[in-house]
Symmetry: C2
């Protein structure tokens, strides 16, 4: 029997894939640029962020035909960050999800510009939605800018760079990840609440849940880098150790990292206790994130 989550993913994933494609197809721009944007957008991935936005909406019992567009803009921001992170002057990665990275295929200049185009387009798509109030769109843009910019993802990326070669404390490592990966993941959950006009109690609970889920996600990423194979991961396993990155296993030992993962999982689930909403998908997604093998 398929789980609730499996059905949900099988229903929604094809729509997300189509939406990403049509967003790029619909713009008027040099085809070389569109190709570079689409290449990384369509390079696969779990689509965990857009799925979260849609899952929250479903559990709040709200339907909105444009939610899929909001969900897709988050994947666009995530993708742009990967393109830029992979550049030679950054992580210098040749492979991403088992495929050559964007700059390996299109060259550095076009890779930088494809990233720039994705982040810029994401904000425009939200602004141009028809089925949301202007105030909702403004709130989405405000939160997305915060989550993905200097005070979120980009700031976390800088902290991560600055921390390389140094030994960070657990608190410092959390600070990196709350920003680098946590902020955008958290936004993807809150975005569902904003689209649904959820009340402040629910927004607070979702926010707490999202913080712990973001950390759990990163801890499992670090654990997989130690325990997974390159084939499973679609990228070079063991790279964190080689590049002397600060990770949960390197700071806490592997057993300690697994304990921390369980702790963050529990805190995420507890955060949902005070509010009444369907929690099935949110619990299943938390399970999926902490138990995934890639």
């Amino acid at each position: 029997m398929m789980s609730n989550l499996q059905t949900f993913i099988e229903t929604n994933l094809p729509h997300i894939e189509l939406q990403l494609e049509s967003i790029i197809n619909d713009i008027t721009a040099p085809h070389e640029l569109k190709e570079a944007m689409l290449y990384s957008l369509k390079a696969g991935g779990k689509r965990i962020r857009p799925l979260y936005t849609l899952a929250v909406l479903q559990e709040l019992g709200v339907e909105n035909v444009e939610a899929i567009k909001v969900a897709s803009t988050i994947e666009m921001i995530h993708t742009y960050s990967l393109i830029h992170d992979d550049l030679p002057s950054m992580d210098n990665d040749d492979l991403r999800r088992g495929k050559p990275t964007n700059h390996k295929v299109f060259g550095e200049a076009l890779a930088i510009l494809a990233g720039d185009a994705l982040v810029t387009l994401a904000f425009g798509i939200i602004a141009r939605l028809k089925d949301l109030e202007p105030s909702q769109k403004v709130r989405l843009i405000d939160e997305l800018s915060m989550a993905s910019g200097a005070e979120g993802m980009v700031g976390g990326q800088v902290l991560d760079m600055l921390g390389e070669g140094k030994r960070l404390s657990l608190e410092e490592l959390e600070e990196v990840h709350l920003n680098k990966t946590g902020a955008l993941l958290s936004y993807s959950i809150l975005a569902g609440g904003i689209i649904a006009n959820a009340n402040e109690d629910i927004m607070k609970a979702l926010h707490q849940y999202s913080i712990h889920i973001g950390l759990a996600f990163q801890i499992q990423d670090d654990i997989l880098d130690v325990e997974g194979t390159s084939e499973q991961l679609g990228k070079t396993a063991g790279k964190d150790i080689l590049s002397e990155k600060n990770t949960y296993p390197s700071i806490l030992t592997l057993a300690g990292a697994k304990e921390q993962l369980q702790k963050q999982y529990n805190l995420a689930i507890e955060a949902l206790h005070p509010v009444t909403l369907n929690k099935g998908l949110l619990v299943e997604l938390a399970d999926y994130i902490t138990k995934r093998s890639k």
Copy 2:
């Protein structure tokens, strides 16, 4: 006697400079990142785009204390584009406005991230304004995304790259510049109209004016690259010829480029004829753009 424009610039420029500084000071982010963002934001420049936004507003007789913030976000987007354009994989420039370029001072990785942070923050600042209606903010964001992304500035940058080493027609060169520099300059003029809630006739006239001003600006840039000195320009003169860039002088001869400049100037001024608004500053700015020596 000082011209109207001189008084206007001397009054507004210090506010723009202060605003740019306080926008960066006000964010919570790693200080290395803030430093890199601020370095390029404060590296000088004519501030022609924010001045245009404020000039339009003044000529429409509308005061809005937050217009300066909108104006500043345009300079942030312009600055991010310069940081990325100067990168080794793009134009590979060591000097910008007489100072070492961002990546020369902070390294490529931080330069890329400083650019990313600037563009992302720009959208957030508009979303967080208090004195504009949500619908005005959404319109500003919509237009800004269009002007600065794949369908505008970034797309133009790609066209420019693809055109290097090829001989473009005048139409193809115009297509590059309408996007690469024209779209954002045009937005800076329209933004004043959006903030002022100008009627559609005025918006149309401003739009026409802005298109021709954008082209005039670029033609004069190309002419200065031939006629100016590196000292005047704060960047290497004659670089366009060396790198075999398509320019107005290379396609039309220097005399032909000057004729084209005059034509675009005339079209810009004519575009304002059908509407009644104070045009003094807009005419003076057009004069300034076509006659500037840097």
